[in-house]
Amino acid sequence: MPASTASTVTVFPTCLGDIAMPDVVGQTTRALAACGYAPRLARGVTCCGQPGYNSGFDADARRVAKASLAALDRTEGPIVVPAGSCASMMHLHWRELFRGSRHERAAIRVSQRVRELTTLLAERADRLATLGLAWPGTVAYHDSCHMLRELGISDAPRAVLGTVAGLTVVPTAVAPRCCGFGGTFSVRYPEVSVAMADATLDDARVAQVDAVISADPGCIMHLDARSGRRGDTPRVVHIATLLAEAGLR
C-alpha cells in the first residue's frame, strides 16, 4: 500500500462510539484523512456482538454481529476500528462465533480486513509528525486488555503519541492492568468495577499526569465517568481526541 495513493478505508464506529462518543468517530475519520487514507463511515452496521458473546449468549451475539458482518462484507479495503476490544472481537472471535454457520466464510473474509486504528496511524507516523501537532503536558497511556493481550498492540499507540510535540508519556502501573470495565462486568459488579477504576486512576494521580489516553471507548467511558465522579483525578480521553486537541484537523 504506497503512502502516496489515498486508499479507501471503512470506519466501523462501534456501539459505544455511536452512543457515548460520537466525537471520537469524527476525530478518527479526520486523523485517517490527515494520514492520507480515504475514510468512509460504514453504513448499515450495528455492534460487533461482544456484550452478548462475553456473557455467554453466543446465539444472541451471532444475530447482532451478523448484521455488521453483512454490511462490512459489502465494502472493500481495511476496516478501521477505533476500539481495541471491538477490533479484537471482530479480528479474532468472529471466526469462532460463526464457525460452522453459513456465515463462516464471510466472517473469515471480513475478520482479515479488520485493523485497529492506531496500527494504521502508526504506519504513517512520519506523515503525522509533519503536521505540527502539539499538546504540552504529560499523559499516561492505558492499555486496553484485549488490544494488548489478544492483538498484541502496544507500540503503535505510543508511536502515534510520539508525533505530538510537547507531549510526554509517563509509565504508571506495575503492569498494564485492567481498569475494571469488562463490558457487562461494569454493571454486574459495579462496586468491584469502580474499585478497579480507582486503582488505575490512583496510579495516574500519583504520576501527576494531565490526562489518561486510551484507544478503547469502553475503558474510556468507564474511567472518565469514575474520574468525573471523584473530581480529583485526570480526565480520560481517546487517542483520536488527543490528536484533535493537538491541532489535527
Binding site: 444475530r63 448484521a67 506495575v174 475494571g180 468491584v192
Partner: protein, 466 residues
Amino acid sequence: MNRPGPDPLTSSTFSQRAHEQLGKPFLRRAVPKATDHAYNALRDRFRDHDYDALREQGRRIRADAVEHLDEHLATLVAALERNGVSVHRAADDARAREIIRGIVRDAGGRRVVKVKSMASEEIGLNPALEADGVEVVETDLGEYVVQLDHDRPSHIIAPIIHKTRGEVRDSLSRVAGRELPDDAAALTGFARDTLREAFLTADVGISGANFGIAETGTICLVTNEGNGRMCTSLPRVHISLMGIERVLPRLEDLAVMLPLLTGAGTGQLITTYVSLLSGPRRPGEPDGPREMHVVLLDNGRSALRGGAYQDVLHCIRCGACQNVCPVYRQVGGHAYGWVYGGPIGAVLTPLFRGMDAGGELPHASTLCGACDDVCPVKIPIHDLLHGLRSDRVRGDAAPRAERVASSLWSLAWSNPWTYRASVTFARVGTRAAARVPSGLVRRVPGAARWLDGRDLPGGPRPGGRR
C-alpha cells in the same frame, strides 16, 4: 477446625462477598502490595531467561501427564507399592475422608500434624478428623493462624495475605495466654516453639503432594518453612493426599516444573525445601515414618478429561494467576466463596461444585487475560471462563433477567434501523438525564448500577481540567 455457619458459596452472591471484602481497609492495602511483590519477583526471576519457552515446556509436560493420566497413574501406583507405600483411591471427598480417618484410627493416632494442602481444604478433612477426637495441628504458619481463627485461607500460597500483624498477634496471644509483642520475628518465634512441640509428639503427619513422580514412585513436596520435611520425618505415619492430576511421568520433569512452580509462585529460584519421598523408612536409615500412605483423590477430576475443560487439570497451584488478577487484587480470595479463589478458582469452583453453586464465578472476571499471560503451564484461563459462561447459558442456568435482557438486546441490535433508533434514544436519554434529578435517572433499570460511583458517560466534568 470447625467452621460453623452456612456454606458461603451457596448462601451468598459474589457481589455480597465482594462488598464485605471491599469494606476491609487492610485487605485493600495488603493484597495489592503482596500480589505486586510476587509478580515483580516473578518478572525479576525470569528477566534474563525465556519464561515463555520454559512455560511451553511445562505445558507439554502437564498435557502429556493429563492426556495419558490412566497410564501414568498405573505406573505411579506400581512404583509406590514397590517402594512400600500403601496406595488408596478415593472417588470423592467423602471417601477420601473415610480412608484417612481409617488410617489415623488404625495407627492409634491422637495428634496429627499437617502441611498446607489445598486438596485437604477441598475435602474438608480437619473437621472430620476432629469429630473422631483427633487433634489436628496445621504447621504452616499462615495455615496455623487460619486454623486458630476458624478462618479460610485466602490465597493458594499466602493463606493469611488478608490478615494484619495485629490480628495474628491477637490469635497467637490467645494460645500463649499472655500478650505477645507486636513484632513479626517474636510472633514467628512463638509459633515455632509451639509447633515444635506438636512435631515431636504427633503420631501422624498429613501432607498434600505438589507432584507424584510416576517413574520412581515419589511424592514431591515444596515448602519454605521446613514443615513439610518435619511432618514427613518425625511422626510414625505419613499420609499424602494427592489430586490424581498431579502426576508427573518422569523424575527429570521436575527440572522444568520446579522452577516454574516456585518462580511463578514466589519468584524464588527454588523453595528452601524440596522433599522427594519414596516410601517409609528403610533398613539402615536412622529415621522416617514406619508407614507411608498415598490417597489419590479424584473428586470430579477424571470427569473433566476429554472435555472442554481438561486443561484446568494442568494447574500446579502456584497462585500466579491470583497475583496478577485485577479482580482478586481488589476483593481477595474469600469473595470467591470456596477454597480456590482468583481466576483458577472461578474455573475450578463451578466444575467441582456444579453450575448451580458456582456458575456465577466465571463472570467475576473482566476477561482481561492477565492470568493467561502469567500461567506457568499456559492454561488458557480466560477461554475456560468464557466457555463456562456459554455453558451456563446453554444449560439454562443463567438467571431469567439476564436471558430476557440478552434477547431484547439481540432483537434490537440485529437490525440497522432498530439499532439506529435505540442509539438515538440512548444518546438523547443520556443528554436529558444530565438535566433531570438523579433520583429519577436511577429508576431506569440498571442505571443505578452504573451511577453508584460513576457519572453518566459524556456528561459535563465540573472537576476536570481543560
